[in-house]
Structures are given as C-alpha cells and as structure tokens.
C-alpha cells in the first residue's frame, strides 16, 4: 500500500473517535443523541481529507503516520473543548480550518527548505522581536504574571508559538555552518577541547537570550523549551555530550540566579513545592491551579470518570460559575481534564500518541539526506516534544507549572496555526528524505 493510502485509512479511526466522543457527551448532557455528533464527525473527517489531499499532491512520499496522529490528538482536544463549552469547540474548529489552510500554503509554497537558510538572520531577528513584543506597552499583556501574548484589538496572539519555529530554523542553519569547527575545536582546557571564542561567542549569546527570556517574559516554561531545543541541536550537530551538559549546567545556574529574583518565577516555584498549603492555595496566582490539576487527576483514577463527567466548576442560581474547580481547563490544564475523564489509561494513550509523533519526527531526521534537513527535523521535533514535556510536566508536578499549550489539543489559534506550520515543515522534510531518486 502506498504511503498516502495508508494515511487515508489511518484517518478513519480518528473520525470515528471524534464521533464517538461527541456522542458520549451528548448522552451525558441531554440524555438523547443529537445528530450534531455525526455532523462534528463528518466535518472533521472532511477537513482531514482536505489535508490528506494537499499532502497527496504536494508531498506524496511524506511520512504517512504524522498527519493521522495529529488528527487523533486534534479530535481528542475538540471533544474535550466541546465538553467544557460548545463555543470553544466551534472556534477551535474554525482555527483548524485556518491552520489547515496555513498547512496547505506552507506545503505548496515552500518547495525548497534550503530557502530558509538564506534568510536565517532575518528569521532569527524576527523571532526575537516576536518574543520581546509582548513586553512592550500598548500591545503586550501579562497573563498570570508572564508576558506571552501580543494583543492587537480583540485579537490575542501567542508570540512564543511562532518564535519557536523561527528560532529552530535559525539554530539548525547556524549549527550546520559551525558544527565542524565546534567538533574539532581549538584550545584545550581542563582536559577538554573548546572551540575558538569566535565560534563559541554566538553560543553564549543564545544562552544570554534564554536568560533574557526568563527576565523579560518571566516564563520558565518557554525558556526551557527554547534552550532545550538548542541543546538538543548542539548535541546532534556535534555528537558530543559535553556541550549540552555544560549548557544545562549554565542554564540551571542562570535560572537559579535569575529565577530567584524574578517574582513571578519565584511564585511558581513556591507553588510547585507546596501545592496544598492552604495559604498559597487561596492566593491569586498561588498554587490553586496546580493543586486542582492534581485533584482532577486523582478524581480520574485508572479508568477516568468518562467524557463529560469531570467536575470543572459549579454554577450557582444565576448560572454563573461560582467555584471554578479546574482553572484554565481549556488550555494549560487540559491534560488534567483528559486524565480526569479518561483516566491514567487515556492520559497514557495521549502521551503515547505524542511519543509516536516524536518518533516519526526523529525518523525524518535520520532519513534526511543533508545536515541542515537533519538538524531542522531534529530541532522541530525536539521543540515540539519539549513543549509537551513542559506543560504535562507542569500539571503533573514534575517541574514548576508554566503556561504553554498542549500542541493540537489546547484551545488557541496561535498554537494550532504554529503547530500546523511545524507539521508542514516536518512533512516537507519527510518528502525530501523519502522521495525516490
């Protein structure tokens, strides 16, 4: 069977899943089955088929599993969003249309990825600008103390979602140039050889940028994401473990020094250490989010409560949600909601789906035929994987909780669009790698 036919077949289960998921929620809510569940399933399948056709025409040899895996995650997210509030699901569905459009545009327009290499400094500059913009008065805005979004009129735009792609492109092309120098190095110091300062400088600069992110946007999560992707690329580019190890040490040191001084980061660390402290729990921006996340997971147990059965808030006589049990259930804490409703098994399935995407992503990297493509595929996959780790690790108390989205599942236009672009880039890389010569 050809790659594309396999892909088409694999899309069917996710359409079935979305139909079944909506059906379950309708049954819970109204005790009857509305045809809307079929409508959602049908529309979702149609969207997937459009995406599939785009791939069929622009990248016929690309990896057949990436797109269906993304579809499964997206449909899971859609069902959960519908369960929180119908309007979220409708908007999210619209964002999927936009995201798919962006996916198609990227697939059609960007036939040669090496084009990106030429504009790497422009891309790098643009990305850093994107990251700084939220801090500017007038258009920036803090949410939960972190500066992550750009607000223009009614639209809110998550800058870091797009910046992560730009920065990975820049790093991949930069490291392709300098990797030889970094490997063969110049001076020896403490029994290790170090590259000349001229080449080492930019690496220090990147560390500096990560620290700056921590100070300016006050977000540990994004800086872990960016710097982690950088270290992953550095390791793959040089094949030497000592670079990422030193980098990790430098980051930890910097985070310790800087993080201890930036109030917001400090609060997050405190909440992480003592989520059930009643005082921290009551505080605004305290530990309630994390504590509720853990309560929700405990409520789910092994098998979960079932779709639509988690407690996310209580409406009082006036229909106002008086007690929000699960804050930010639609974006930051959606993993907790999924665990609550589908249990440890459902949550593990989601993580497994992500791991499969990551596996396919690294497979693209190993199959790629030139260093830039290899590094780009590695970088994109790593930043994607780190994003999942940062948010899931945050809500499960592995690391302090910071607000990044769960790719393809969380509500949010920027996240959906950026991740579809990321997917398009991976598919393009895959096509280049697997095209018969």
């Amino acid at each position: 069977m050809s790659a594309r036919n396999r892909e088409a077949l694999a899309l069917l289960p996710s359409a079935l899943l979305v139909t079944a998921g909506f059906a379950a929620i309708f049954l819970k809510r109204d005790a009857f089955l509305s045809d809307a569940s079929l409508t959602y399933g049908g529309v979702f399948l149609a969207l997937c088929l459009v995406g599939h056709l785009v791939v069929r025409f622009t990248a016929p040899n690309a990896d057949p599993y990436l797109f269906p895996l993304v579809a499964v995650l997206a449909c899971f997210g859609l069902v959960e969003l519908y369960r929180i509030d119908e309007s979220f699901a409708r908007l999210q569905a619209q964002w999927f249309v936009v995201g798919l459009g962006l996916f198609a545009v990227t697939m059609v327009m960007l036939k040669d990825l090496h084009l990106l290499e030429r504009y790497r400094y422009t891309i790098a500059f643009g990305s850093i600008l994107l990251l700084i913009l939220p801090r500017l008065p007038g258009i920036g805005g803090a949410s939960n103390g972190a500066y992550l979004s750009i607000n223009v009129g009614p639209l809110s735009f998550q800058a870091a979602e797009f910046a992560k792609i730009g920065i990975v492109i820049f790093l991949a092309s930069y490291l392709r140039d300098t990797r030889q120098v970094l490997i063969h190095g110049g001076r020896r110091f403490l029994g290790m050889s170090f590259p000349p300062l001229r080449h080492f400088g930019p690496l220090l600069a990147i560390w500096g940028v990560a620290m700056m992110l921590l100070i300016f946007i006050r977000d540990l999560g994004s800086s872990v994401m960016f710097f982690g992707a950088f270290l992953a690329l550095l390791y793959v580019a040089t094949g030497k473990k000592r670079f990422p190890v030193i980098g990790l040490g430098a980051f930890a040191l910097g985070a310790y020094v800087v993080g201890g001084r930036v109030g917001h980061v400090q609060d997050r660390v405190e909440a992480w250490r003592h989520p059930f402290d009643p005082e921290l729990f009551q505080q605004t921006g305290g530990s309630a989010q994390l504590a509720q996340s853990l309560f929700a997971q405990a409520d789910g147990g092994l098998f979960g409560r079932g779709f639509g059965q988690a407690e996310i808030g209580l409406t009082d006589q006036n229909g106002v949600i008086g007690t929000t049990l699960l804050p930010a259930a639609k974006n930051d804490l959606i993993y907790s909601l999924i665990t609550n409703e589908t249990g440890l098994l459902g949550a593990t399935a989601i993580l497994l789906a992500y791991l499969l995407i990551i596996n396919r992503g690294f497979r693209v990297a190993t199959l790629a035929r030139d260093p830039f493509s290899k590094l780009l595929a590695t970088g994109l996959t790593s930043v994607f994987a780190l994003q999942v780790f940062v948010i899931v690790g945050g809500v499960t108390k592995v690391i302090p909780l910071t607000g990044v989205t769960l790719p393809f599942i969380s509500y949010g236009g920027s996240s959906i669009m950026a991740n579809f672009v990321l997917l398009a880039l991976l598919m393009r890389l895959s096509e280049d790698a697997r095209r018969p010569t």
């Binding site: 409520d299 006589q317 229909g319 690294f362 790593s382 690790g393 499960t396």
Partner: protein, 492 residues
C-alpha cells in the same frame, strides 16, 4: 549524526516515562490523599446533583430535606439543603453546605447513606433500572415533643438537655442553647453571607454543648461515687459515714451546702441531702484506682459511641491542661473529685449515660441517634438494634441507687422534679461552682429518670451560669422533659 538522534529519542522516551510515572502517582498511587484533601470539594459538589435523603424525627417530622434549585441561565438542576426546624436540631443534625463542601453532625456521619453512596444490592439493581438516583432517608430517635419541652425549659438560657431511653440507648432529645440556624449558615451557597452570619454567632453556638462541652458535674457526680462505693462491697446504703462540715481534705476544709453539720450519716442520707463531707470521706476511702475503675465502667475516658462525627463527641473525665488524667494521678484532689468538683470535665451526654445505666439495672446501652435508614421506596436499609455498651455497675447497686435517688426527689434536694401524677421520679441535683461562690452564679444540674419502678426515660439537664441551685432551676426542666417523654410513649 544519526546515533545522536537516536540517543536524543531515547532521552525523550525517558522524559515521557517520567510523565507517565507522575500521572500514575496522582491517579493511582496517591489518589486517596488527594481525594480526601480538605481543599478538594469535588465529592460534595458531585453530591449536590443527587437529592440527599431526608433526615426525620422519630414521628416523621422533617428535620432536613433537599430542595431542587434550577439555575436560571444554564438550566442546570442542583440541590440545596433546607432545615425546616431552624436552630432546634442544628447541634445534632448539623448541616451540609454543598458550595463550600462542609458538613457537620448527622449530615456528616450519615453522609454515605444520605448521599446514596452506601447501597445494598437490591436497591442498587433497582436504581439502575429506574435510573433514579437519590439518597436514603435517615430516621432519628429524636422526639419533637421532648425536644420542644427541653428548649422551652431552658428558655433562652445557655445550657443543654439530653434525654435517653435507658433500655435501648435511643436519644429522645438532645438540645443545645445557644445554637445556629443551618439555613442562615448555608445562606443559599452565598459564601459572603455565610461568613457574615458566622460572625454574629457567639458563645460557642456552632458547637454541640450536649456532646462537646466539658462541664464540672457538681453533685450529680455523687451518683458515680456511690456506685463505686456500693460495688466495692465495703458500703451499703445504710453504712454510716462522717458527714461533718468543714472536714479537711488536701489541707483545705470542705464545707457542706448551707454550712449544715449533720455529723454521722448513712450513705442514703448523704445522697439525699447531698452531704459533701460524707462523699469526700467515701472517695478518699475507696481510693483513686477504685474511683477510676467506676468512672471507666460508666464510659468516662472513652469517646461515647454516639453516631455523630468523632470530633463532635468529646470524652469526659478528669482534665488537666486539656488532657485527661486518671483519678489516681497525683494532681487529683480525690475528695473534691468524689463530690463532682476539682478537675472533672463532663458532657451532658455522659451524665445522661450515667443516669441511664442506673435506670437500666446497671446496663449501659450504646446511645444512638439513628433509628433506621430507608431507601426512596421505604425499604429498610439499616435498622439500629439496642446494644449493650458496658455493665456500669452491679444490678443490685443500680437498684439501691434507684431507691436512693427516688428519695432525693421525694424528700431531698430534687423535690421540684416531682411529676405530681403518682409516677415516681428518681434523680440527683448538682450545683457546680464556677470559682466565685459569693456571686451565687453556678452551673445548675439535674439528672433523673422515671418511672422509678420501670424507668422509660433518663435525662440530664444543665443550665449555665445561673443563680440558685440545681434543684430549683434544672429539676423543673427535667420534670417537663420527663413528662413529655412519657407522654410521647418513651420506652414502649
């Protein structure tokens, strides 16, 4: 490069393994602690969608029920608790606040039944078929007429009344004044209103005095001392004891009431006239260990096995720095303990248990508030049967005490408990000093039972900080409570 990429993948597999491990930790391994965390109110909120069962008085009077409330915007239906009897039953029935996730009293201790969590198989099948989910009804042993008589007797004065059925352990009345109105406390789920109401409550109104307040029992405790004396075999009701005024115990003279000096008295006379000097001598003669044993047989030092939440039922005994110590401890003034003063801290429930044991041939029944639990269709899920808790004394000792206590009402300090109907009452008065004797403000007690020949009700009454003696203030209250209990058919 490819080997590095593979290593990188392995690293991510490990990292995701950590994520799965932590998710398992919260969902499976440490879920119990999280589910019961005080900050986590998911269970209570979930319960607000299921109508809780009713809490009923013995005659079917509704004490607590669920009212369906429909939210205007979402149309979601949820249930709120309503307490038609106001504050009268609050200290015992408690409350269940769905919004704040707080519960007290029977609402808490019987939550599994009321919320429909504890289901028998037959009902479970039925529920599945009907798809109808609702909690079970809890019918209490409380008699509304007795409750009313008690609260009217207290007439706004702080205090408590507990009435038991000696043969079964049924709690016929359990009244605490002051108390709170559960409807105002819940305030329709309005946290700010609820908080404001809480601020208006004073003098421990949120607590149940009947089971949570440690009072000095005064002379009512002489019943326990007498039981210890008769059980020891060293005393009979006719044994002569020195009851002189101002005998020295622990190097301080102990005065009799009114400074009377009857000289040598029988144990019976000592109890009837409440002669302090005589009981001081008896307690010292018996010694700390014997008194301790007697107290424990009445249930002192243990939590009374009442079906309220454990933290709402206090242990009675000798209190030093808020901890219970034994009667033979060096800190105990034995003579003054024997007359019910010194460091004794006793709940009205405990004193009711003491008199109930006397009334039931020394057999102390397990006190209980729940009579039975029925499901929505009236099927009995649980029927509470009488159960012996302890043998507090010999049956012969109990018989002697009954006759002596009948004398107390006939010719002694408890005359005002006399029903005047030919039905004989037995009892014992108490006037517990609060430190300042000259002010004449004391805690006034009466414990009693009736009819003497075949007791059907046992009662303990305390009125806080009042002028006069137990015989003048508490005994008349006991009289009306006993009368109403007999009228309500207690003990049938």
């Amino acid at each position: 490069m490819n080997s590095s990429i593979r290593n990188l993948f392995v690293l991510f597999v490990v990292l995701f393994g950590v994520l799965v491990a932590f998710t398992s930790r919260w969902t499976v391994f440490e879920d119990k602690g999280l589910r019961t965390d005080a900050l986590n109110n998911r269970d209570v909120i979930r319960a607000s969608r299921v109508p809780r069962g009713k809490i009923l008085a013995a005659d079917g009077t509704v004490l607590a029920r669920s009212k369906s409330v429909k939210s205007r915007d979402t149309g979601n239906r949820y249930y709120q608790r309503v307490y038609p009897q106001g504050s009268l039953y609050a200290a015992t029935v408690g409350f269940s606040d769905q919004t704040l996730g707080q519960q007290a009293g029977l609402e808490r201790s019987q939550n599994d039944f009321l919320s429909g969590k504890a289901v028998k198989l037959a009902t479970a099948v039925n529920k599945l078929i009907q798809g109808d989910q609702r909690g079970d009804d809890v019918r209490t042993t409380l008699e509304p007429s007795v409750m009313k008589a008690a609260v009217q007797g207290l007439n706004g004065r702080a205090g408590s009344v507990v009435a038991l059925e000696p043969k079964t352990g049924k709690v016929l009345a359990m009244v605490t004044v002051p108390s709170y109105d559960p409807d105002d406390l819940i305030a329709g789920g309005d946290a700010a209103k609820s908080e404001a109401y809480r601020k208006t409550l004073k003098n421990g109104a949120l607590l149940s005095r009947a089971t949570q307040f440690p009072y000095v029992p005064g002379s009512t405790f002489k019943v326990v001392t007498t039981a210890a004396a008769l059980d020891s075999g060293k005393y009979t009701p006719d044994t002569l004891v020195n009851g002189a005024n101002n005998q020295t115990f622990s190097s301080v003279p102990l005065g009799n009431f009114g400074g009377e000096d009857p000289g040598m008295v029988t144990v019976r006379q000592a109890l009837v006239q409440s002669v302090n000097g005589a009981f001081g001598n008896i307690a010292v003669d018996l010694g700390g260990r014997a008194l301790q044993t007697a107290m424990e047989k009445f249930g002192f030092d243990s939590r009374p096995p009442l079906d309220l939440p454990e933290d709402q039922v206090r242990r009675s005994g000798i209190l030093r720095k808020d901890k219970l110590i034994k009667a033979y401890s060096k800190y105990v003034d034995l003579a003054r303990t024997g007359i019910g003063q010194d460091k004794l801290g006793v709940t009205p429930l405990q004193m009711a248990m003491v008199v109930s044991a006397v009334a039931n041939d020394g057999k102390l029944m397990k006190p209980h508030l729940v009579d039975r639990v029925t499901d929505a269709d009236g099927r009995v899920q649980e029927q509470v049967e009488p159960e012996t808790y302890k043998q507090a004394m010999k049956a012969s000792t109990a018989a002697s005490l009954r006759s002596m206590m009948a004398n107390v009402v006939d010719e002694g300090t408890g005359a005002q408990a006399n029903l005047g109907t030919g039905v004989k009452v037995g009892g014992k008065t108490g006037t517990a000093e609060l430190g300042n004797v000259t002010a004449g403000i004391n805690n006034l007690w009466f414990i009693g039972f009736a009819p003497v020949e075949d007791p059907k009700v046992a009662v303990a009454v305390i009125v806080e900080k009042s002028a006069g003696q137990g015989g003048q203030v508490a005994a008349p209250i006991a009289k009306t409570v006993i009368q109403s209990a007999l009228d309500a058919g207690a003990g049938r």
